[in-house]
């Protein structure tokens, strides 16, 4: 349903723009206007046109236009057609538009316009256009009513504790979820539209007194430069406005959960929502956010801190384990205890490939398996796990194609990589870079590679803010929410790099501690 809606819109505007820039103005003649409209929406059968005449005064002629499938028919029948037909209000041809708004149509949002472009955008978004004979203006009446997915918990951000609501595809519904959680007048919500052809609605939210004004300005500046024909998901915008465009790491965050969005807003971040996508964009993005999860804040801080630490540790492991294995096997055997070394050597005996090639082959096989797991229809997923686990794992070892420790290395790499899904793509590249360097230069290559990665991370900025927090001096308020998740009564300040308005907690709550 939703996809059809989007495609239809795209098609319509394409056909109308192809012809002309629509310079003709609205005329006072109803017939002329409808003829122009038909011309604009030529070859589009979803446009419904209906003429109406008032039954008390047949001089009053109207015409309503809407796009079938995007509207709520009962609104149009009851609140537009019925009052227009039956209205007993004194109306005269040519001077009735304001009276219609005030006394006749029963619609919550009404807008006057003279622009064809605006009419096109309104019709394709489910509004009804009211053409009035004798007026050179039309009314845009809100009659939207399309089917949307119900609110559900997002699949990729499931939690055990905490709110389960997730964003949907309809912008206004998403905004309502944010607004419900932030009931004050400081939440600013600004609309914009992107895409020369899709005219996708987007909105920028921030809390006025907390947000960093420089970041906001920079965001607007970058958004102004966007000149793209279609925006179907938030990622279109992400890639257009991000810093250091060639970096494999994210420069903006994403989430599908309103509670996360509100949390980010309260830390001084800016949210960008795009109609048609359940994914909200959050910026600026700190590197540590890769390892944060909303659940950290809903659970005991001891447990959350451990989880946070495990995630960071896994990130490091996932990048380094294959190259460390290569270093141990091929360069510095001496650091392995003797018993382990003999086991390693025994396992590797009779294996045809050198360890480096083995790692390469197995890692790439794993990535193939993973991609297949995502793309495959769920019905045959079972076969995939059978092939992956049994054939590539066990059978390869017993056939002496790969050494058994290799399977463990790949498994550890894979599992640790899954702990931090937000840096998934970058981890694959960094892993390969380190692997190549370590295979060539041993530990020297490993350290050089890590240095390059480290320098790259330190170079990363998000909207002018360094992604790895400036580590000038380690203050508790700076690290409270990074390697550990400090208890709420200790999180006195907001992250310093994000905002100047620091105080989050009035004062340390000594109520029930001590």
């Amino acid at each position: 349903m939703w996809i059809i809606f989007l495609m239809g819109e795209d098609f319509m505007i394409k056909s109308s723009l192809k012809e002309n820039k629509i310079t003709t103005l609205l005329s006072e003649s109803l017939e002329k206007n409808i003829a122009t409209l038909k011309d604009i929406f030529i070859d589009d059968d979803t446009i419904a046109i209906r003429f109406i005449t008032n039954c008390h005064n047949t001089m009053l002629k109207y015409c309503i236009v809407h796009n079938d499938g995007l509207i709520n028919a009962s609104i149009i029948n009851e609140n537009i057609i019925k009052p227009l037909m039956l209205s007993k209000v004194e109306l005269s041809r040519g001077q009735q538009i304001d009276i219609l708004i005030h006394q006749v149509v029963l619609i919550n949002q009404v807008k006057k316009t003279k622009e064809w472009q605006e009419i096109i955008e309104a019709v394709t978004y489910g509004d009804t256009i009211l053409f009035i004979d004798g007026e050179s203006e039309v009314l845009i009446l809100n009659s939207k009513g399309f089917n949307i997915r119900a609110i559900a918990e997002p699949d990729n951000e499931k939690v055990i504790n905490g709110p389960r609501e997730g964003f949907g595809e309809a912008l206004m519904m998403n905004l309502s979820m944010i607004r419900r959680r932030l009931r004050n007048n400081e939440l600013k919500i600004k609309f914009r539209s992107f895409g020369k052809r899709t005219h996708t609605q987007a909105c920028i939210c921030y809390i006025d007194s907390i947000v960093n004004k420089n970041v906001l300005e920079e965001l607007y500046r970058r958004l102004d430069t966007i000149d793209i024909d279609g925006v179907l998901d938030t990622n279109y915008i992400t890639e257009l406005i991000r810093d250091s465009r060639f970096s494999p790491f994210r420069a903006t965050g994403y989430t599908e959960r309103p509670d996360v969005v509100v949390g980010k807003l309260l830390e001084g971040r800016i949210i960008l929502l795009v109609d048609g996508s359940p994914v909200a964009l959050t910026l600026p993005y700190l590197f540590i956010e890769n390892f944060q999860s909303n659940e950290d804040y809903y659970m005991n801080f001891y447990y959350s801190s451990l989880a946070r630490f495990l995630r960071i540790f896994s990130f490091i492991l996932s990048i380094t384990v294959p190259s460390l294995y290569i270093i141990i096997v091929a360069f510095n055997q001496e650091i392995v205890p003797t018993t382990l070394l003999t086991n390693l050597v025994r396992e590797r005996m009779g294996v045809p490939l050198p360890a480096v090639l083995e790692v390469f082959v197995m890692l790439i096989l794993f990535d193939i398996l993973k991609e297949a797991g995502i793309r495959v229809p769920s019905g045959i997923g079972h076969a995939l796990s059978l092939v992956g686990g049994l054939v590539i794992g066990q059978a390869a070892v017993s056939a002496k194609l790969v050494a058994a420790p290799m399977i463990i290395v790949v498994a550890v790499t894979a599992i640790t990589g899954m702990l931090v899904p937000r840096v998934d793509a970058s981890v694959i590249y960094l892993r390969l870079l380190l692997l190549i360097l370590s295979a060539t230069f041993g530990i020297l290559g490993f350290i050089s590679g890590s240095l390059i990665i480290m320098t790259h991370l330190l170079n990363l900025h998000s909207f002018g803010i360094p992604q790895l927090t400036p580590m000038e001096e380690l203050k508790y308020q700076e690290v409270k929410d990074t390697f550990v998740r400090g208890p709420w009564w200790k999180m006195l300040n907001r992250p310093e790099v994000l905002t100047k308005n620091k105080t989050r907690l009035g004062s340390e709550d000594r109520g029930d501690c001590d």
Partner: protein
Amino acid sequence: MQKEMISMWQAISIIVLFLFGSTAVMGMNSGAGHDSWIALIVASLFGGVLVLVYARLIRLLPGMDFYDMAQTVFGKIIGKIIIALMAWYAIQLSALVLRSFSEFIQIVSLMETPQLVVMVTMLLVTGYMVFSGIETLAKWVMIALALTLGIVLFTMIISIRQSDFSNIFPILEHDFSTMGKATLNLFVFPFAETVIFLTLADSIKKSDNVYKIYLSGIFIGGVVLLMLFLRNVLILDVPMQNEIYFPSYAAARVASIGEIFARIEMSIFANFVLGCIAKLSICILAAVKGVKKLFGIKKNGRTLFFISLLILVVSKVQFENVMELITFSEIYPYYAMPFQIAIPILVWIGAEIKMRKKSRK
């Protein structure tokens, strides 16, 4: 663009890592045997005095690097000569560090890999780091310092069982001239090499206390070097230590606890690589800055590229083999002193006179 600034602790970390960057592995073959640690303490005291001059210079002309200072004090022509000399020193020092580094790598790890390949790899890494600017470099140095200090402590702790505390006796068995020479060696390499930091002085915030930065840098670096030296002597004993080119590496090879923590020389290796890259990139940064000032070049990337090439050539051509490198290290003190002591003191005196004149007006 906003000027790149570093914080006080970052500046201190740069000095500390600079101090024991290459010393950590090259060891301190000062020639004084048991008494090297006394020579080290005396040398760090002298180093402390020398850096007072450097700090005073920065205090007199705040917000400037050494190249700018020379030009403001002595005018354009002499200033340019000083810039050329200091830039050359930076290039030469980088070449020296790079060469000793690649020799080390060849001896302990990659016997069959050509040194040129190792050098080019190193220069690519340092090139990227220098290109990223001093802010990134300083942040990175703090992380590297934490890592290296951690490794030093770790090796010290696990080598306690192998340590023989009687190794430091007898104390003061050498005569005065040997001690003097040892002190001079240690003073020039590494303490007085902190003159390179003067060329980065424009990145220090004006509100920060330069004396504190320099002195605590020297102090922390001196303590770490002392610990390193004691560790090596306690594990290896002196005759052994003097025989080996890379005593730290050998010491870590011996240290062990049980089966698991054995043969941890890889960690010393890592330490050395970290320290060398830090020292190398700071020197290259200084050289790039100097050459840019000297010829009035604006393009950072290209200058960096050609300086790196120059360093590669110099370090390759300078010495035929490792023996020449070691022979050179004997005359190095007399070669380096003009750059480390004479030129800064000259600029300092000039600056004092200039400032007096200015304040009189």
